[in-house]
């Protein structure tokens, strides 16, 4: 009797370990996550406007059809990135995702507080390497630190009614994400 209970107990404890490790390892093995779905469409460090959500073939599940969407699949290994997006008529937001599609930062047009949302994206190391004399706390320079070297920027512009969708799409089309020219290293 005790022997069977022991077997059951050991089995349950090992089962809990199997469960937790599969949950934790699953994101590393996923081949159909949002980043993988966007890889064939979106070149690195370039804004790509996504097609409107249609019932037949959705690129990703649970996309809000009232929004025009554009993504930038970024890679910071060659240096920081500069992101600019004009604010659309109704509501615009920018969300930053890690390589594993975790939303680590999101900002909307009102929080950004001007006509053009301008952000600089860099890794923590690149931020630490910024020259000291530059006033990085200046209000006109919004710096976002990416926890991963690669990831996604998703720009969304709301079309409050279907007739305004072309305007919203034009707004996301005007957004840019470009790698910043490498900083001169010699001055150090």
């Amino acid at each position: 009797m005790i022997r069977w209970l022991m077997i059951l107990l050991v089995g349950l404890v090992l089962g809990a370990i199997v469960h937790l490790s599969t949950i934790i390892l699953l994101p590393l093995t996923a081949t159909r996550d949002a980043y993988a779905r966007l890889t064939p469409l979106a070149p690195v460090n370039t804004m790509t406007v996504l097609a409107e959500s249609a019932p037949a073939d959705a690129l990703m599940p649970f996309m809000d059809p009232a929004f025009a969407n554009a993504v930038c699949r970024y890679d910071l290994s060659n240096g920081p990135l500069k992101f600019t997006a004009p604010v659309s008529i109704a509501y615009t937001s920018v969300t930053f995702y890690t390589r594993r599609d975790i939303a680590y930062y999101a900002i909307n047009d009102r929080a950004a507080g001007r006509r053009v949302i301008e952000l600089e994206l860099m890794t923590s190391d690149q931020r630490a390497e910024l020259p000291e004399d530059e006033d990085i706390t200046a209000a006109d320079r919004l710096i976002v630190e990416s926890p991963t070297t690669t990831g996604l920027i998703a720009l969304r512009a709301l079309a409050p009614e279907p007739g305004l969708m072309p305007t919203a799409r034009a707004a996301v089309q005007a957004a840019r994400c470009v790698a910043e020219p490498p900083q001169p290293q010699s001055s150090r």
Binding site: M6, I7, L8, V10, G11, L12, L14, G15, A16, I17, V18, H19, L20, T22, I23, I24, L26, P27, A30, R32, D33, A34, A36, R37, S53, A54, P55, A56, A58, M60, P61, F62, M63, D64, P65, A66, A90, Y91, S93, T95, F96, Y97, T98, R100, D101, I102, A103, Y104, Y105, A106, I107, N108, R110, A111, P147, L152, R156, L158, P160, E161
Partner: protein
């Protein structure tokens, strides 16, 4: 020999329990920090860097891009206020008011998260499109057949989910369910 059969049995139990629990967690969905108001549930913490391992696994498996908390909060309803699963062959009414937000959208999806084709080509409503009563409340008819007022066609599918997204809203990770966050009621009427 007894040790061998014993450990084999323990490993068998471990595999079944472990993978079974993982399968259930991923298909039933779920993460920590659920915010449930009426029939609506949101996981605000899933839209932050602090998303828990269950949320991360679900994000990777479904391939969705969640709403970040600086952007908004996304509430999902799979059942009406009485606990009946939402049925596209029934007349369902979504009525009341929403929490404070600059904009909101209400969208109808299949349970897999795809839009549902319908004759009006209308996947949902935004807060600006909705026709309201004089007191500011609204009523949306989620029905298979044409309906006066705010009609959201179901396309006659058996099961669907409603997603109410609040944009630029104070509702977030620290919100507790209560009187200050009113969500619309969902009631099922006649079924055909």
């Amino acid at each position: 020999m007894r040790l061998l059969t014993g450990s084999l049995l323990a490993f068998l139990i471990a595999t079944l329990v472990g993978l079974g629990a993982t399968y259930l967690a991923l298909t039933r969905g779920g993460a920590f920090g659920a915010l449930t108001i009426g029939s609506w549930t949101a996981f605000p913490k899933t839209g932050t860097i602090d998303a828990d391992p269950y949320a991360r696994a679900a994000i990777a498996r479904t391939g969705r891009l969640v709403t970040g908390v600086g952007d908004g909060v996304s509430f999902t309803a799979m059942r009406d206020d009485k606990g009946k699963p939402l049925d596209g062959r029934c007349d369902v009414t979504v009525s009341g008011i929403t929490p404070q937000a600059r904009f909101w959208t209400l969208t109808l999806y299949s349970t897999a998260g795809n839009l549902v084709a319908n004759s009006l080509n209308r996947p949902g409503f935004t807060s600006q499109e909705i026709v309201r009563r004089a007191d500011g409340t609204f009523e949306i008819a989620v029905t298979p057949r044409a309906h006066a007022g705010n009609w959201l066609p179901t396309g006659g599918i058996e099961r669907y989910v409603l997603v109410l997204r609040l944009y630029d809203t104070p509702v977030g990770v620290s919100t507790k369910a209560g009187r200050e966050v009113p969500m619309p009621a969902i009631t099922t009427g006649d079924c055909r």
